[in-house]
């Protein structure tokens, strides 16, 4: 059974049963909507950690297409990118090396605040007095 790191709480969980729609890292889903009808889970690819296209794909899936299913990250996602991944709406990461787990856990709680509105966490300005 494939194990996934769940970014919301850092737990290792079993992958849900069912098909996963792969979206290639170079697929422009802004210009052309992917077929999301009946899709429960989407897999986004980080071919190299430096390739940040999947961060935009996740945001577009959530905000443009209102996708509420699981977004899974695959490939070369560094622990230090985990909080970014969660904030753009990625739920899970697959193929985590056991020795990296502690680093992922640290990274997920390294920052108490964030400036931007995103899928998770209130932006700093909404926490500042009188600006809600």
């Amino acid at each position: 059974m494939t194990k996934l790191l769940r970014l919301s709480d850092g737990a290792m969980v079993d992958a849900p049963v069912g098909d996963v729609l792969d979206i290639a890292h170079d697929q422009d889903i802004m210009a052309e909507a992917p077929a999301l009808d009946g899709v429960a889970a989407v897999r986004l690819i980080f071919p190299k950690f430096k390739d940040g296209r999947a961060f935009s794909q996740a945001r577009v899936l959530r905000t443009r297409y209102g996708f509420t299913g699981e977004i899974r990250a695959s490939g070369d996602l560094l622990p230090d990118q985990a909080a970014f991944a969660r904030r753009v709406g990625i739920d899970t990461v697959e193929d985590i090396k056991a020795e990296r787990l502690e680093d992922f856990h640290f990274a997920l709680k390294a920052y108490r605040f964030a400036y931007q509105p995103a899928e998770h966490g209130a932006p700093a300005h909404s926490l500042r007095g009188g600006t809600q």
Partner: protein, 557 residues
């Protein structure tokens, strides 16, 4: 200036804790240099030729005197007693030890400073007019927009792994002192016909090996929608920008390959998407938060003063050295009886942009006594005291002189931008600093410099163009030919509101001949100009490159 609240403080402190852990893992061998590299780069830590280099962010070039003293303490405790002002208005330290860098960042964090995103393929320090808040004719203080962009771009979850680095500049006046046309995004604050504030948006400018002047992508963007429009541009770039070739990965290449019209269509499509999300889903800043940030940039308590100052006029009449400094290093202030002063970091025979710890401490004291504790860095590698009373200028200049900061050469031929070059940088092909120093020596006579007038020389030690040679009135590019240093001249570049890329003239010049060549160009300008009021760049625009090329070749032959 902006003051951190608890959230801002937590942000930089959390960053230090994270980086400390990363450095520990690197030193213990838990992670490789390859894995560590992107982490240190996101914290402004480069590995240079001889040592690590730490680039500290000076957001939009604004410093308090206390912050400048902290930079001085870092120079003293962790470097060789000096710092270096960069062309992004940041300060670089060339000799820190890796193991010390978390402590340096901690000290910066205590002073509400950081090194976040001063390198790496992310949104870098937003730059602006060093006379912000002091210059006449501003729509508003551009630093309000810069601080909004700083917060929005800090640890942006979607845009921290872009195809390449990304630089934004903001200007709030018709005169452009922020070089917005050679930035990935240039924002010019304007008002529309209804008098509402907003921005003209330029995109796709840049220097490097393929220089471009930015193109206008939007005639008027309402101020309130700035962040959603920036997100739209960044998203199109993040998704469509080239990642196959590092030299074609900047947004200028994407804009050029798509064409600005198609690029605009793609951006507007994303922008419409943000607008459709309505106020609840908007990523734009609420007006109350904008107002909260803006209040930190309210003007200091200026006194009501007469337009002129007898003390200032008398001092100029009695002290010719002061008169020369006042002639070249002062900029008009929007308030009567005040001026802004450029503190030249270009004395002869020193690396352009270097400032010692003692000088930083002296400048901080001068700013406390005479200048509302407000200090700026400039993209031309100088510093500025933005708010000085005319009555105080003579005392200010004497204190600057005593600290070795009184060079009267702002905007003159010896006020040279130069990259660190082969003396520090592992990308460079040639040295830059010694060429700058040799030009300074050749034109050391202040009367000759004054006669030549405004002339901007910019030197890059390789094609990456960190010394901005493309936009120098005279640009000098170092190239390596079979292990020998050569220098290529460009003429007619400019980074202001009439931005232009300089034209390459002639063949590469040897190290020995490059200063002679500059002198021949300058001499031909002096012979060709209509009057002393016609600057070099004006004469070049009137005459083109030909007469200067001829002068070069005739006498070189």
């Amino acid at each position: 200036m902006y003051q951190y609240d608890d959230i801002d403080k937590a942000m930089v402190k959390d960053r230090v804790a994270e980086f400390r852990r990363q450095v520990d893992r690197r030193i213990s061998g838990d992670i490789t240099e390859d894995e560590f590299k992107p982490m240190r780069l996101m914290n402004g830590l480069y590995l240079q030729l001889h040592a690590y280099m730490l680039r500290v962010a000076i957001p939009y070039g604004t410093l308090s005197s206390d912050q400048l003293r902290v930079l001085a303490s870092i120079a003293r405790d962790y470097d060789k007693g000096y710092g270096h002002v960069s062309t992004r208005q940041n300060m670089q330290f060339n000799w820190p030890k890796l193991i010390d860098t978390p402590d340096i960042l901690d000290r910066l964090a205590d002073a509400e400073m950081h090194a976040i995103q001063t390198s790496g393929n992310c949104i870098r320090n937003t730059t602006t007019d060093p006379f912000a808040g002091a210059a006449a004719g501003e729509v508003e203080d551009p630093r309000i927009t810069c601080e909004i962009i700083r917060q929005w771009s800090t640890f942006h979850p979607e845009f921290s792994f872009l195809p390449r680095k990304f630089k934004i500049a903001v200007s709030a006046t018709e005169e452009d002192r922020a070089a917005i046309a050679v930035h990935d995004i240039g924002l010019q604050m304007i008002r529309n016909d209804a008098g509402e504030p907003g921005f003209k948006v330029l995109v796709g400018g840049g220097q490097g090996r393929t220089p471009y002047i930015a193109e206008e992508i939007r005639e008027f963007l309402p101020q309130a929608e700035l962040l959603s429009y920036l997100e739209a541009i960044l998203r199109v770039y993040n998704v469509d920008g080239r990642r196959d070739n590092i030299y074609k990965a900047r947004i200028k290449i994407l804009v050029n390959e798509m064409g600005v019209e198609d690029f605009r269509v793609a951006v507007e499509r994303e922008f419409d998407g943000f607008r459709a999300m309505g106020p609840a889903g908007s990523i734009d800043l609420p007006e109350a938060e904008r107002a909260r940030i803006a209040q930190y940039f309210e003007a200091p308590a200026f006194e009501a003063l007469p337009e002129t100052s007898d003390a200032f006029e008398k001092a100029k009449a009695s002290d010719p050295l002061f008169a020369a400094w006042a002639r070249f290093n002062l900029h008009p202030h929007k308030e009567a009886g005040y001026a802004s002063a450029t503190i030249s970091l270009k004395p002869n025979d020193e690396p352009p942009g270097d400032v010692t710890a003692d000088q930083m401490v002296a400048l901080a004291a001068i700013a406390d006594r005479y200048g509302f504790s407000d200090i700026r860095t400039t993209h031309e590698q100088n510093m500025v005291l933005p708010h000085l009373k005319l009555d105080d200028l003579y005392a200010v200049w004497q204190a600057l002189e005593a600290a070795g900061l009184g060079s009267a050469n702002a905007g003159l031929i010896s006020d040279i931008i130069a990259c660190p070059g082969l003396d520090y940088c592992n990308l460079a092909n040639t040295r830059s600093i010694p060429v700058a120093n040799r030009i300074q020596s050749r034109f050391a006579d202040p009367r000759r410099q004054a006669e030549i007038g405004e002339l901007k020389i910019k030197i890059s030690g390789c094609i990456n163009a960190c010394g901005h040679h493309h936009v120098g009135h005279i640009g000098i590019l170092g190239v390596d030919k079979k292990g020998e240093e050569f220098y290529q001249l460009t003429l007619g570049g400019s980074a202001d509101e009439d931005a232009a890329i300089g034209e390459i003239v002639g063949r590469g010049l040897s190290t020995d001949d490059v200063v002679n060549a500059v002198e021949r160009v300058v001499d031909s300008y002096l012979a060709l100009r209509l009057s002393p009021d016609e600057r070099f760049i004006d004469a070049y625009r009137r005459l083109g490159a030909e007469p200067f090329k001829e002068a070069l070749y005739d006498k070189a032959a």
